[in-house]
Amino acid sequence: MWEAFQTLFQVDNLFFLFVGTSVGIVVGAIPGLTASMLIALTLPLTFHMMPVNAVTLLIGEYVGGISGGLITAILLRMPGTPASIVTTFDGYPMAMNGQPQRALALGIMASVVGGIISWFFLAGMSPLLAKFALQFGPWEYFGLVMMALVMLAALTQGSVIKGLLGAVLGMAFALPGIDSTTGRGRLTFEIDSLLSGFGLLPVLIGAFAISQILKETAAPIAPGPGFKLPKGKLPVYWKDARNHGANMARSGVIGTWIGLLPGIGGNIAALVSYTTTRQLSKEPEKFGSGHEPGVVSGETANNASIGGALIPLITMGIPGSVTEAILIGALTIHSLQPGPLLFQNAPEIAYGIIAAYLVANLLMLALMWSTVRYIAMITQLPRPGLLTGILVFCVVGSYAVNNSYTDVWVMLAFGAIGLGLEKCGVPLGPFVIGFVLSPICEEKLRAALMMSDGNVADVLTRPYALLFLAVALLTLCLPLFASGKKAGLAPPSEEGKA
């Protein structure tokens, strides 16, 4: 491991890590462009590089890409990457309340802490954790996702009907496409482009960024108040360690844990840890109105999920996300096959990934910390120009996912849908969550039933699955007993202010 750090601190590796991280942050911050897109675009360049250089570049892009998303999530309420959705819930209200720098600073700190927490798991107990995560079969995935769904349903206690309406609509839009349990098209109406369903990115970008652009075009928001920047001092204090320490630790562990499970990404990690934090909070009613723990838990968890996802990748060769599948592709070009043999065949790569992950997080901190005061001024830019630029990137990004114009139309359509939902007071959170989680939930349940020949009682033999389902049940029932005095989460919109 020590040698890996030494290798990493050679000029070329450090250079690639720096380039990767900084480009990653910029791309991550732009709504529509994501880390996986950047990595896919860089892939051909890595063919000509030394394997270690290639890996440091890609890891830098990965970490930077996930971290950069918080900038636009907080300042413009447009998640730069899907992993930053929950950051819009509290980060944007904070920015609107005149604390954009505080929100950014907290988000950055949380990202780094999340990264470091998951690095300890990655460096210290990868083989053990990977083995544990492997025990998760379809029943456990189903239980986990069900738990997350129910917890998120609890998010909208205020307007249960509208929250549920949003969630159900989200689920409905997740239905078309190839049904993975039968291999046949479902609700595709003989339209070929519907065979791949509605893509995650076009839907998210549409519902959040495009709807926001439409809204601001209709009713322009005045540029934020011209805040004076305190020289040389950023609004993060030692007392934050006390106030947010427990939250960060918990969210870091949740994020690492969810990242460990292949196929469940940073966005779900952030969602689950956000709701957990809110469930445990003494003042849950403050979430959604610019509450600091909300920003902290989401940003800690989404960065921690990267470290978690790297665990099955380097120990088993199992990619946890699209981004990592591309990372594997980059390695195979150099005839390196990630898997248990990687530590024997190419220790410099296996340990290099671990070391690069830590250094990328630190670089990300340095880069974002030194520029945060300027980043915060994005809100001061003339809105028409800013929104036009973002719109261009949204179109490019949606197109680039699958090189398909269909996705661009899908994005625009969901922009209109998102705007319509908000106008009717239907919160976007449950809508997107239903869209993201229900396909996993459905697929895993059907896989579990397929595996057990349709025997539902089979779940009784799976303790973890039972545990998750029990938590789900509790979450669902507890509020019924406790009188419904909690004022639910206000949807992340500024209905009141508009």
Partner: protein, 328 residues
């Protein structure tokens, strides 16, 4: 302050432009070394890959394209366009929107035949003109290393005694499903399925004990070292990397799956243009660097010309259709 703003923004935009420029720039300018270029190709050839970047089909397309460009076997480079999703339907519609003069091609494999057999997407083989196979690879059937089964015979005997007692990780309507189904049909045995959408998923389910059997690319299998035990190889002949592993044909099952790297153009593409690309591909697959990559990744480098490849595919398709009918 505004100056600072602009600078931050400019750095961002600049970085993106640099990145875009560097990947597109490579493909637009570097290929023009061949001064005596015939009129074909007159612009970069768009190669549609129906998968996300990083997989085998994508990597092989990029490597061959790079080699052809490097050696100047075609006067213009390949530009790889990934159009994943919809069981390949996105890639086909992308191809149909493209040129029919040789500037649009597709690099795929026999998953296309499965999509056709399953009726996904409104196309069949008549939409394509085959350029040829540039080698391919065959999968293995594997169990966990600690499994009590040491041969295919063990598994088959067990399943005949206790039908449906083992779980097979497959993506319904994907290659693992069809290969497994061909084998079980021949052998007269039956497994239970659990959905697994990718090689990574199958690996996860098998190693974690959720599934008992799964199909892997030979390279996926060898990367796992001692974690897995391969029972049978689906190639026509034994794989040099795994000399002790018997083929299904040797064991008396008439099942083989040689998943080729198949190059295609739209049906209307003229002979001269199609032949020009075929000729370049044939040279590329015989190149020592490419052969080295193929062998290291348990793929076989070979060349099958366009018409012969189409014949082979039609034969394979006819054996897939009866299996597709059994899926409801």
């Amino acid at each position: 302050m505004t100056k600072m703003n602009k600078r931050t923004l400019a750095t961002g935009v600049g970085a993106c432009a640099l990145l875009l420029g560097s990947s597109f720039g490579l493909t637009t300018f570097a290929g023009k070394t061949d001064a005596h270029a015939a009129d074909f190709p007159s612009k970069p050839i768009e190669v549609v890959v129906p998968f996300k970047p990083g997989g085998r089909t994508d990597t092989v397309a990029r490597l061959l394209g790079k080699k052809i460009q490097e050696k100047g076997w075609l006067s213009q480079p390949f530009v790889i366009v990934n159009a994943a999703g919809g069981g390949g339907a996105n890639a086909v519609s992308r191809m149909k929107r493209g040129d029919t003069d040789g500037h649009t091609a597709v690099h795929w494999h026999h998953q296309m035949l499965i999509s056709i057999a399953m009726g996904l997407g409104n196309y069949d083989l008549s939409a394509f003109r085959s350029l040829g196979y540039t080698g391919g690879g065959s999968p293995v059937w594997a169990v966990r290393a600690d499994s009590p089964f040491n041969s295919l015979e063990d598994v088959v005997n067990h399943l005949k005694k206790e039908p449906r007692s083992l779980v097979e990780a497959v993506g319904i309507g994907s290659i693992p499903h069809f290969v497994g189904a061909m084998l079980s049909k021949q052998g007269g045995f039956e497994t239970r399925y659990v959905t697994a959408n990718s090689g990574a998923d199958r690996l996860r389910l098998l190693l974690g004990g959720t599934a008992d059997i799964a199909l892997f690319a030979a390279s996926e299998y060898t990367a796992q070292g001692k974690g897995l035990k391969a029972l049978v190889y689906f190639g026509k002949e034994r794989l040099p990397n795994l000399p002790d592993l018997p083929t299904a044909l040797e064991l008396g099952y008439d099942v083989s799956w040689a998943n080729p790297n198949w190059w295609l153009v739209p049906a209307g593409t003229p002979d001269a243009e199609a032949d020009a690309i075929s000729a370049a591909l044939e040279k590329a697959i015989a190149d020592p660097d490419i052969i080295k990559y193929f062998k290291a990744n348990t793929l076989q480098p070979y060349w099958v010309p366009g018409a012969a490849a189409m014949e082979d595919a039609k034969k394979q398709l006819s054996s897939l259709k009866p299996i597709a009918e059994t899926i409801n």
